[in-house]
Symmetry: C2
Subunit: 380 residues, 2 copies
């Protein structure tokens, strides 16, 4: 899909403008041939996607534990990227833990989370989770000492020229998205139609044939499942958008469609296995209950009824990594990739592999220690 | 305390700049003779304060019910002000319901709440409640129709030039306070010491003798009991600030001190009567449990041990209006003044009357229908 000229070592620290410039000239992307960003299969090979879910960068940034988690998460991503060499990465929400970030610009942590992908010149796309734009939650313990730690309150630091009241009201979805898109040509993320705001990450990418950029092999739909600054839900307006968009791009439902968002829908609760081993689901951990969206406003009915929709991929539940059949499609969890966020289950990333002739969607989970498991064909 | 030259009719609508200008030239305050704002007793008369608690302006602003509540609240305040003709008004927090306000600048609602006081040329001071700086909470029902109401989302309105993503992250305490202070010389509010931020409304006002502005009759302490953008608590640092400030201004504890904040401390729970009628408390409604601050970090011990502290006044619980003795001081609720906020108990305002020779602090509650009740001497 891309020609990669850069050979850069993964930086574990924040990336400077210089680094960005070097990377920008060092990465050469395939030409984009339509107003919509297009991805293309490499000639004679499948298209591979890595899902990075629930990285939770910026957690507890004021104690050693926090930055250490982010270093660990960078290592997980680096291991997966070097082992799998994917053509594309999807950041599946909760990229950051904004409610733990006591600075005005949470995008600095978002940038760190993207860095392993960017320095390898791999293009990516992002959707929002419920932690990405929450306001900072002041820890109660900061109020019980003899004062609020001044280092955490820029207002008391005269050199700080930004927001002057240390409210840390979170960085909005739109600001985060502008940063994601604006800092690199590798970003395929989009802010989505304005009429769907405050729900932002709603967009579709076309995966094209290697021989013909006009010929779609699959459509990848990204949706914002809410949370943080607004309810955890895919709205009726988003469902309508999907309906219209899919009819426009794929009127006869001939081209397979794959869906990505962060918070499982209520349908995930219906298919959740009691005993993973004795179910028709494929996965390795089933350690908690599905924590679904607050309501279901029509998207699942549309997806289940549309023949071309093959699978939905979500994050959110760190203790679940299964794929289960639901009507004629599959509902899949990714795998907790980050060291931030709750849970101590070993970290990894779900991999998707798309083959054109015949079309197939295969998936497995690549772990931090290098081994893989839970392979499943999602188009059988 | 003040010479009032203005004779303006109370406006029930938002106040224009012209109105502000007319008012600014129409109100003449007593000279302020020290770096701290000073209030002075009128010659030969007591000093009267009206407490306006839990006005909750801006509630459900997108349906008729909301603005109607604000009109009702303006009427309550106007009735109390015209009946009592206080020398000073204290806005005791939850002036607005910011979590219901889908516009970038919640100060517009704050301004409305202040207006009945301002147009009568009465000076005021404010403290923050837990609803004043919360981010907007998107109603779930807005997501179940065929779209987010566009009228509520300025981003989709090309004429909107402010924040462009309809996040409505709330107006920060400091912004609200800047607005309160900046728009009128009648405001005695302060943003408090920076080292106490994010807790903002921490300050002290001196009430002086009519004959000698240097001679204090009482000190009024205002504190920010948190909530909204940070925990509901008076921090150890605030307690230390009170200790230092009171020792500095009133080293021998000779001058009476009166305390104002929004959320009751845990001590209120200890004194809450089971049956109001058969207790040593004075009030008229005792309809719910005390909803106290999340923690107690030292302020109550300081207040209870300091001989000059006479009483604490809070709001927050709309269904409580009593004063109860606690050690050697009194713990009092105000009275729900606003039509915004939960509860349908009749609205009113607690009145305080301070007399110099001998010092006395008397209180009663003035209701919207004009009658008063629950008179109590808090210095006996």
């Amino acid at each position: 899909m891309t020609t990669r000229k850069c050979r850069m070592i993964v930086s574990l620290t924040s990336l400077s403008l210089l680094l960005r410039f070097i990377m920008a000239v060092g990465c050469t992307l395939a030409p984009r041939t339509s107003p919509e960003n297009q991805l293309r299969l490499p000639p004679g090979a499948p298209f591979k996607i890595a899902l990075f879910a629930d990285l939770h960068f910026g957690e507890a940034a004021w104690i050693d534990w926090g930055p250490q988690q982010d270093v660990n998460s960078l290592k997980v991503m680096s291991t997966v990227l070097d082992k799998e060499k994917p053509d594309f990465v999807i950041y599946l929400g909760d990229v950051i833990t904004a409610n733990n970030i006591p600075i005005a610009n949470a995008s600095l942590y978002w940038d760190q989370a993207i860095s392993p992908t960017r320095v390898r010149c791999i293009p990516w796309a992002s959707v929002f989770g419920n932690h990405d734009d929450t306001p900072f939650e002041w820890p109660m313990e900061w109020f019980s000492s003899t004062g609020i730690p001044q280092i955490h309150c820029p207002a008391a630091n005269s050199s700080y020229s930004g927001e002057e009241d240390c409210s840390f009201r979170g960085t909005s979805r739109l600001e985060l998205m502008r940063n994601d898109i604006g800092h690199s040509t590798l970003s395929f993320s989009k802010a989505g139609p304005k009429e769907l705001w405050p729900s932002v990450s709603n967009y579709v990418l076309q995966l094209s044939s290697p021989s013909d950029p006009e010929s779609p092999v699959a459509f990848l739909y990204f949706m914002d499942s809410g949370g943080g600054s607004y309810p955890e839900v895919i709205s009726r307006a988003q469902a309508e958008w999907f309906k219209q968009k899919s009819h426009e791009l794929n009127p006869d439902s001939r081209v397979p469609e794959i869906i990505f968002w962060h918070i499982p829908s209520k349908a995930y609760k219906k298919v959740a296995p009691t005993f993973l081993l004795f179910s028709s689901c494929v996965g390795s951990i089933n350690k908690e209950s599905v924590a679904p969206q607050e309501d279901e406003m029509g998207i699942m009915k549309l997806l289940a009824e549309r023949p071309s929709v093959k699978a939905v991929f979500v994050g959110h539940n760190h203790g679940l990594d299964w794929c289960c059949p639901y009507k004629k499609l599959w509902l899949c969890f990714a795998r907790h990739t980050g060291y931030g966020g709750y849970g101590n289950w070993p970290r990894g990333a779900r991999i998707l592999e798309i083959t054109q002739h015949p079309f197939s969607l295969k998936s497995w989970i690549r772990m931090e220690d290098g081994h893989s498991h839970s392979e499943v064909i999602l188009t059988s």
